[in-house]
């Protein structure tokens, strides 16, 4: 049994230690907001937070998470209230196909917690996720907007 703390709740999972966290979230716990894009840590579509750090869950075996606090996209909205980052994403109309956006939003959430007023250079350094639709201008604008909110 693997025990994980996800979005504040603890879960016991009967899965192999080397199962990537992404698949435990998606297929075992049905938390499908985190996406598969490459499986090799290259795209960031699967980004979640562990102890506040952005982590690519496709490349993180569940056995290595230990007692780390996992946060997924599903945790950001409180009732009907979007998080500041999500709100900024809507205001700048950032998503196109949307498939990368859970990962982008989680990466931006980690960035803003570490650096509440990120510079463009901070954004370049932290936001390494691929958006195949190319919504980078809106994503950058959304991060600045969330910082000001």
């Amino acid at each position: 049994m693997i025990s994980l703390t996800i979005n504040g709740a603890s879960h016991a999972l009967d899965v192999e230690e080397d199962m990537p966290l992404l698949w435990a979230l998606r297929d075992v716990l049905n938390l499908t907001g985190s996406k598969y894009g490459c499986g090799v840590g290259a795209c960031g579509a699967c980004t979640v937070l562990i102890n506040g750090q952005a982590v690519r869950s496709c490349s993180m075996p569940v056995g290595a998470v230990g007692g780390g606090r996992i946060e997924t996209i599903e945790s950001l909205k409180q009732g009907d209230t979007l998080s500041k980052v999500q709100q900024a994403w809507v205001e700048t109309q950032a998503p196109q196909c949307g498939y990368c956006q859970s990962g982008q939003i989680m990466a931006a959430t980690a960035l803003l917690r570490a650096k509440p007023r990120p510079t463009d250079a901070d954004i370049d350094a932290a936001m390494t996720n691929i958006c195949r639709c190319g919504a980078y201008e809106q994503i950058r604008a959304a991060i600045h907007r969330a910082a000001e909110a």
């Binding site: 996406k35 598969y36 999500q86």
Partner: protein, 741 residues
Amino acid sequence: MAGFKVSRRLVLYSLGGVAAAGGLAVGIAAMPYSTLPRARELVGKDGESVLRTWIRLGADDAVTVFVPHVDFGQGSQTAVAMMVAEEMDADWKHMRVEEAPADAAFANGALVRNFLLGNVHVPQALDGLANFGSRRMAQNMGFQITGGSSAVRGTGAVTLAPAGAAARWMLRKAAAQAWGVPLEEVETEASVLHHRASNRSARYGQMAEAAARHDPPGDLKLKERAAYRIVGKTTPRLDLPAKVDGTAHYPHDLRLEGMLYAAARQAPVIGGTLLDVDPAPAMAMRGVKKVVKTGDAVFVVADNTWRARVALDALEPRWNDGANGQVSSGAIMEAMNRGVAGAEFKTDHEAGDAETALSGAATKVEALYTIPFLAHAPMAPPAMAAQIKDGALEIWCAVQNPLGAMREAAKRAGVKEDKVRFHNMLMGGGFGRGGFADYAMHAVDVAKETDGAPVQVSWTREEDMTHDWYRQASVAKLEGGLDAQGRLVAFRNSFSERRDSAEVSALQYEVPNHLIRYVNGLNPVRWGYWRSVDNTLHGFTVECFMDECARAAGKDPAEFRRAHISERQRAVLDRVAEISNWGSAPPEGRARGIALRESFGTVVGQVAEVSVGDNGQVRVHHVWSAADAGLVVNPGNFISQIEGGVIFGLSAALYGEISVENGRVREQNFPDYDMVRMAEAPRQTVSIVESASRIGGGGEPGTPAIAAAVANGVFALTGHRVRELPLRHFDLRSGARRASA
């Protein structure tokens, strides 16, 4: 299969066709082959009235528009709803969008067929289409009918704005009858009907039921552009809220009771077949239920995706490579090089006498350009699910041609079409890939073997990249002749592998003597529409070559182009020069390149400001785009589409290359088929050039010219002319090709 091209633009085309000419008739909604009864059967709902096939109006004023195309990020569902709201005079806050069922009622293919065959006199409304700059759309629609149904989207969009106008008429008619007043005196505004003289008004919802009993006439006028209240104003997209909180559902996200998960491996050579595979190693692994074999693929079915994938890796299938086993991109390139140097061409366009004018030119310029195969690599690798039970098939996928896919799936499953329930879900990027439903059929193949259990099949990124339908590689030999004043008087483009319609290769400059010709048949790699299609070839080759000609003429590249283009193009070129400060000196260590390309009825001019780093790689700092799309339905979204198109083209220009060896695609995943990310993404400025032109597209026109703008900038900075993509193969400090590449 032309669905891709049509779907993302058609919305705009149709309105443009109509809107450009202004106030045209709306015969469509009243065509005799009404699909309305069937639509009422399919989408009817208590307390709501289906006024037209595409429009349902609730007693609470909610308007649901059934949009017959999948959302893959282009925002056209919102745009379509805006068009309906505009013509219907509905209040935007009441608009909803649902994807139309995959049913012939929503394909409305009869309209197109009759239009193409000339059987129906559809007054002016379709004139706009027939004339819209080219016959491209009609061709595409024909293509779609042949393909089975992508006309769904085509005809749907053609029908939607007029359907909105028809719905408005029906509501007015109902009010006129209820109030005993002349129809002409009933006015509408923001979902409310008014009769001023008697000071009466009613909400649309109150008249919905009565309105549904009327048939609209065929001579309704659409609004003039000047009267638009909704179209042309940036409007938040209806699909976005679900895309920021993780609730947007792509096929990958379907979770059903008892659903199994399958991993797929296809013959490594496209066209190859499966000889045999021993299922034992997989069957011994935890969670594995079954190994399924088909003619060209093997699947492992398990209780979750990861277990299925790991077990699939444990198998050692033996394949027959088939006829493509010897295909290699190196040999294809050589064949194309020989082809364009040869004499066997088909002519696309000819004016004057290019041969004579070239040999008599004061200055002759000649260059050979090479561009590689490309994959679509949409953000979401394919996933799909199906269940076959009691002679019925239910399928969940994301395709650009739902009706065609539904029919193919029915055949594959051996069930009747009326026994298929088809769910087209959100598509995590399309770019043309979704026009081919090969992946969706995998769900059917596996569901046949799971004893009634639903099964979700998903591809790895590697499977996606090696089993795509690829943008063709191409070689172009370009020749230009300048007169003593530096005017381009002769031009010849001899290129390999045309896939698009002939008009796309047309020279977009005024040159009295020109010849555009191509040689096909040298390139056996499976081909597919790729964002902006053959515009990606000519956007790079011709736009770089124009730069070469400008240099040979001793002219500024913008000035040089300016002397050879139409007024409409000139307005765009001047705008992009203005917003990029083209005439001013760029910052130290940087230079700017310019390019211009019209595609899908939209003229786009681009300037890229570049530098070259210590690693010899180009860095693109800023891209300015000016675009004349005639009329822009949703400007904010249009700008995002142009910017996204730029990034898409830039990823290809900098990194994109698919290579084939022994019939196998070498590139597997993002590490070796890389993408522009935030740090490499240029800052962007987009300026919309207003014009009275017919409406053009937004999703594709940002893509084709950007590679040339960047390469031209590199030349301006370094004096090195790179005539081959991707740029990563070159050390741009010296212009030398890298040994490792």
